[in-house]
Amino acid sequence: MGGLVTSTDSGLAVPDWPLSFGGFLPPMVGGIRFEHSHRVIASTVGLLTLILAIWTGMKEEKTKIRWLAIAALGAVVLQGILGGLTVLYRLPAPISVAHACLGPTFFSLVVSLATVSSPKWEVRRISSDQGSFHHFALITTLFIFLQVLLGAIVRHTGSWILVHIAWAFLLLIMIGRLVRKALVDFEDEKEILRSTFLLAFLVIIEFFLGLGAFAFTRLVDSSQARWSQVLIPTLHQTLGSLILAMGVVLALRSRRDLAQV
C-alpha cells in the first residue's frame, strides 16, 4: 500500500496526521483513497503486531523469539512515527527513505518470527559442512537490504539510479553463486534448494520489473500517472520486500542446519 501511495504521488493528499482532514473517515476520493487506506492498514498491522508481541511474551518460552516479537513491535511503532513525520514535514527525503526501508525490515522481522516459531523449526535436519553457504546467504541478504535502500533513495530523491542498476547486476551475480553453492552444499536438502531457487527466480523477475519501472517512470512523459507507471514500480517495490524476507529466511534456515550438525 505504501508503494501505491508513492507511485500515485498521494503521500500528501491528507495534509494532517494522525487525523485525516481532522477526522477518522475522510471521503475516499482521489489520492485520499491510497493515503488513508495506507493509514488504516498500517494501524491494523500495528494493532496485530501488539497482539502478536503480547501473545509471544505470554506463550513463548524462548527468550530470543520473545525479543524478536518485541523488535517487530518496536519497528512497527517507529514506522508509524516515520510515516507521520513524512506527512508533517512534507516528504523530507531522509525520513521518506527511512520509512521505505523500515517497512521491508519489519516484514522480514515478522516473517523471521513466523519461521523460527514454526513447529517445523524444531525438526532436526541432515546437514554437512555448509558454513560458507550460510555466510554467503547472510552477505547476499545484506546486499539485498542495501538494494532496498538504494531503491528507496531512487524513489524519493530521483537520484542514484545508475548505482541501483549496477547493484542489481551485482546481485544477479551473487544469486547465481548462491544457487551454485546450494547445489553443491545442499544437494540433498530440498527445503534449502527450493528456497534458493525461489529466491533466484524472484530476483530475476525483480530485475525485469526494475527495467519496466525505469522505462515507464523515466522515459514516458505524461501529465497523468498511467496504471503502468503506478503498478510496475509498486510491484517492483513489493517484490523487493519479499526478496529481502526470503533472503533472511534462507540465512536463518542454513544457520539452523549448521547448529544442528
Binding site: L12, F21, V29
Partner: protein, 243 residues
C-alpha cells in the same frame, strides 16, 4: 529529480527538433502617461499537440461536474496560433527600485477540480486568497524553493485561506495530491511588470519606465526565453526572437 529534469530536457530537445517551438515576440513599447506599454505575443510554431484528456472518475464530484472529463491545460495553442498561459515579466532592469505590494489579493480558486487561473503572477507580499469552490475536498500544496512550502487541507466548499510569498521566485508550482491532475504555477515578482498570455496569446506590461530591460517569457512545457528590450521615452520598438 535531476534525472527527471534530464529526461524532460531531452524530450524538449526532441520536440524542438520536430518543429514545435514557442516564439516569444515583443511587438511594441509605447510611451503612455506614467510610463510605457510594452506589448507582445507568444507565437506557437509547429503542429499544435492534442490536449491530453484528463479522467476525473477518481472523485465523483469532479466527474459529475465534467462528465466528459477535462482537457489538460499544459499546452493550449490558441486558434490564432499563439500560446496561452505564458508568464512574461521584467527579469532585469528594475534593480534597486521599490514597488509597494497591492493590498487586494490575487484570487486563486479550486473550481471544478482544476485551478483558476492556471498560471498567474503575484507580487512579493501581496495576499494570495486561496478558495475552494468545490463540493469536494482539496489539499493545496505549494512547492516553492525560495519561499516557505505549505500543504493545507481545504475540506469544505467556500473555505478561504490567505498566504503570502516573501521572496521573488519564478515559478512556484501548486498541486493537489487528492486530484493529481491539478497543477498551477505562480510567478512571484518584486515589481508589478508581469502578465500572462490569454486566449489571443498577447501580453501587455503597463507603466514601464524608459530604460533597458531583460524580459523573460516562461511556459511550463517549453521553458523560458529572454530578450533585451530598449524602452524609449517616446515612440515604438518592435522585435522578435526565437527560443
Amino acid at each position: 529529480m535531476k534525472q527527471t529534469k534530464f529526461y524532460f530536457s531531452a524530450l524538449m530537445v526532441v520536440l524542438g527538433l520536430i518543429g514545435v517551438t514557442m516564439l516569444f515576440s515583443v511587438n511594441s513599447a509605447k510611451a503612455v502617461e506614467g510610463g510605457t506599454v510594452l506589448t507582445g505575443k507568444a507565437v506557437f510554431e509547429g503542429t499544435p499537440p492534442a490536449r491530453e484528456k484528463i479522467r476525473l472518475d477518481a472523485d465523483p464530484v469532479c466527474s459529475m461536474k465534467f462528465p466528459e472529463g477535462l482537457e489538460s491545460e499544459e499546452i493550449i495553442v490558441n486558434p490564432n496560433g499563439t500560446l496561452k498561459n505564458v508568464f512574461v515579466y521584467v527579469k532585469q532592469g528594475l534593480e534597486g527600485q521599490k514597488f509597494e505590494a497591492p493590498k487586494e489579493p490575487v484570487v486563486f480558486d479550486q473550481n471544478g477540480c482544476h485551478y483558476t487561473p492556471h498560471v498567474f503572477g503575484i507580487q512579493v507580499n501581496q495576499p494570495l486568497e486561496i478558495r475552494n469552490s468545490d463540493e469536494t475536498l482539496h489539499n493545496v500544496h505549494a512547492l516553492p524553493k525560495a519561499n516557505q512550502e505549505f500543504n493545507l487541507g481545504m475540506p469544505l466548499k467556500g473555505m478561504k485561506l490567505t498566504k503570502t510569498f516573501n521572496s521573488p521566485e519564478t515559478m512556484v508550482k501548486f498541486k493537489c495530491e487528492v486530484h493529481p491532475w491539478m497543477a498551477a504555477y505562480a510567478g512571484v515578482i518584486d515589481h508589478p511588470f508581469f502578465a500572462v498570455t490569454g486566449d489571443d496569446g498577447t501580453f501587455q506590461l503597463q507603466g514601464l519606465p524608459p530604460g533597458e530591460y531583460v524580459v523573460e517569457a516562461w511556459h511550463e512545457k517549453y521553458g523560458a526565453q529572454t530578450a533585451t528590450v530598449k524602452v524609449p521615452d517616446t515612440g515604438e520598438v518592435s522585435f522578435t526572437f526565437k527560443g
